[in-house]
Every structure is written in structure tokens, then in C-alpha cells.
């Protein structure tokens, strides 16, 4: 994905067991923060929906 020009951080893999609630929360917070910082991904929108 990154190779094709999707910014790093939009895609995230993590291994969290069902017992690791704190890790889950941390990862979700982290990913949300990263994606929010990147802003909306205009690239992957259909031409008709593009925010201009």
C-alpha cells in the first residue's frame, strides 16, 4: 500500500490477545491519532465524491 502511495500509518497491523485490553486501547488511540493527523485520504475517493 505504501509503495503505491498510501501514506504510512493508514494501514496498521497489530497482534493483541483478548486479554490485552490496555494494549488494544493504546493501539486504537495511536492509529486514530496517526490517521487524524494525516487528514482525510482524498486520493482514494471516487471522482464524484472528491472534496475539492
Amino acid at each position: 500500500m505504501e509503495h503505491m502511495g498510501v501514506e504510512p500509518g493508514r494501514l496498521s497491523f497489530s497482534w493483541i490477545s483478548s486479554a490485552e485490553s490496555t494494549k488494544f486501547v493504546d493501539v486504537v488511540k495511536d492509529v486514530t491519532a496517526t490517521v487524524k493527523a494525516l487528514g482525510p485520504n482524498n486520493n482514494f475517493k471516487k471522482a464524484a465524491d472528491k472534496v475539492t
Binding site: E2, H3, M4, G5, V6, E7, P8, S12, F13, S14, W15, V27, N43, F44, K45, K46, A47, A48
Partner: protein
């Protein structure tokens, strides 16, 4: 290279006469220069139709999928690797095949030659490493190494990896080839540049699916682009749909692509579609030390799990 023809014909005739195969899949002269066609020879009287020159770029493995008869097949390095993949993926059985291996010195790039001249190319002949191109009012001699297909110029598997008969002595493999310079150039770009690069790359795409049809790996009964429930990808000409198609096609080839160039060769608008697959080829080599179709008895890395597999992408 022309000297191969006699040997290929001789082997094919023998196989058909002895009844070892029901047909031989090879090449015959096309109606236009540099456009050899696949040919299915079913009786030994027809073997004279078979030809071999530097215009046999089509991947013949594509014609083996799900066939039931016994087949003799002419195989260059890349074809043989795709045959290995086909055997692994249950598309054909090894004992159905007599593989006539052809050590290859590369195929010439039709598009490159046509682009050199203003008028139509009428005739192309080759002798040794020289290719002579003739057209209305011109004749030019070219060095073959200058007009190779991009993938052939970077090929390190010119000799077939699996064969029963050999049409010529094995050739020397190219060494010290930097196969992934282009991939690295893209890797170094910023996300925006990357996006723009691929945007420009696929801009001419008309979604004719020629790349998919030419690819020996694309054999699913229903391709994901044709699925409607669920609809994985929209059918429109919207750039996101086009990009999704190219993304997914490349992913479906991950760990299986032999860089035979069939996709690029087939594209009517000249898109370098190998830009998608070669990144995945590079990653497979870097991460798993894997090149598709080289080992006849090992499942591709994406079909298996080993504890030592790289997992750095998991945070």
C-alpha cells in the same frame, strides 16, 4: 537462435509420432512482423509450422491450464517457471507434460522498434545478435541487446528450470543484473510522489483486462473483477476502480509472478504494468528469499507459515 527451429521440429515430430503427446504447444509465424502466435500442433505433418525467434514472448504456460491431454510444450526460462507454478497449483499434472526446454537469450520489444520509425515496419529478420528491420523505404540493422524487452534484459533465469528435452545447449545466465533499480527509485519517493507516479502510470488504462488474460497466473473461473456479489471493485472507469484493479491483480500474483512480461507485452496502450508486480517480487525475495517457480517441490511463501517469517509489520 534460428538454429533452434530444426531441433524443436525434430523433437516435436518424434514426440507426436511416438504417441508420447497428443499435441505440441509452440509458436508459428504471425500475420504481422514480430507477432508470433501460439500454435497447437496435433499431427507430426504440421511440425514445419513451428518457428522460433526473438518474437516468442507469449507465455505458453497460459495454454496449459486445466487441460486433460498429454502435451508437449516449448518452454523458455520464464515459461518453465510458470509451468512449475502451474504444477504446484494443480493446474496441470507433471506426467501430462513433456517439456521441450529452450534456453533463451531474450525477446525483442516490438513496441520499442515500432516507435523508432515513422512508417510501418514490414519485415524483421535476425541473424545472430543482429536484427534487421525493413519498412517502406528504410532498412536498419539493430543490436539485439539494445532492443530487448525490459524484463528479458533483467532476466537471470534464461535457462528452463524444468525440462524433459532440450532444444539447444544451455546458455550462460546474466550476472550482476540490478533487477530492482526502478522499484527502489519508487520506494525512495514521498507518498504524494508515489501516488502521482501510479496515477500517471495508469492514466491511459482502458480496463480491457488484456494484462490479466495474458497472464498465466490468472486462471480463476470467475475473476474478482467480474464478481458482483460481493462487488470487490467497481466496474467504472473511475481512477480508484482502475487502481484497485491493478492493486489486487498484483497482489494475486504475489509470490507467483515470474516476471515473464506477458502482461506488459499484451497491454494495448503500453502501460508498464510490471511496476506493480516487481515490487512484490522484490519483497518476496527480500523477505522470504523466494523466487516463483524455481523450486518444483515447495509451496510459495504466502501459502505457508513458518515461525521465522518476518513479522516487523505487526506492531
Amino acid at each position: 537462435m534460428l538454429g533452434y527451429i530444426d531441433k524443436i521440429r525434430e523433437i516435436s515430430k518424434r514426440l507426436l509420432d511416438e504417441g508420447r503427446v497428443d499435441m505440441v504447444v509452440g509458436f508459428r509465424k504471425g500475420s504481422m512482423p514480430m507477432m508470433n502466435e501460439p500454435s497447437f500442433i496435433k499431427n507430426s505433418g504440421e511440425v514445419s509450422k513451428l518457428v522460433w525467434d526473438s518474437n516468442c514472448g507469449i507465455n505458453l504456460a497460459n495454454y496449459l491450464t486445466d487441460r486433460k491431454e498429454k502435451i508437449g510444450v516449448i518452454a523458455k526460462g520464464c515459461d518453465s517457471r510458470n509451468i512449475v507454478t502451474h504444477i504446484l497449483e494443480n493446474k496441470i499434472k507433471r506426467d501430462q507434460l513433456v517439456i521441450i526446454g529452450v534456453p533463451c537469450k531474450g525477446m525483442i520489444d516490438r513496441r520499442l522498434i515500432t516507435a523508432m520509425f515513422d512508417t510501418e515496419v514490414r519485415e524483421v529478420n535476425e541473424k545472430g545478435d543482429t536484427v534487421t528491420v525493413k519498412g517502406a523505404g528504410f532498412e536498419k540493422k539493430l543490436k539485439k541487446s539494445d532492443i530487448l524487452q525490459d524484463n528479458c534484459s533483467k532476466c537471470i533465469h534464461r535457462n528452463p528450470v524444468l525440462y524433459d528435452e532440450l532444444a539447444a545447449p544451455l546458455v550462460e545466465e546474466q550476472k550482476d543484473i540490478d533487477r530492482y533499480a526502478e522499484v527502489r527509485r519508487i520506494e525512495a519517493m514521498s507518498p504524494q510522489e508515489k501516488w502521482q507516479y501510479f496515477e500517471d502510470l495508469i492514466a491511459p488504462c482502458i480496463r480491457c483486462y488484456a494484462c490479466r488474460n495474458a497472464c498465466p497466473l490468472c486462471y480463476c473461473p470467475t475473476c474478482f473483477v467480474d464478481e458482483s456479489r460481493p462487488q470487490w471493485v467497481g466496474k467504472s472507469q473511475d481512477e480508484t476502480d482502475i487502481r484497485t484493479f491493478h492493486f489486487l491483480r498484483a497482489y494475486h500474483c504475489a509470490g507467483r509472478c515470474t516476471d515473464c512480461g506477458a502482461c506488459e507485452r499484451a497491454c494495448p496502450v503500453g502501460i508498464k504494468v510490471r511496476q506493480f508486480t516487481s515490487k512484490l517480487n522484490k519483497d518476496c525475495l527480500d523477505m522470504f528469499g523466494w523466487e516463483a517457480g524455481v523450486l518444483p517441490d515447495q509451496r510459495p511463501p504466502l501459502d505457508t507459515f513458518k515461525p521465522a517469517d518476518p513479522g516487523d509489520f505487526i506492531k
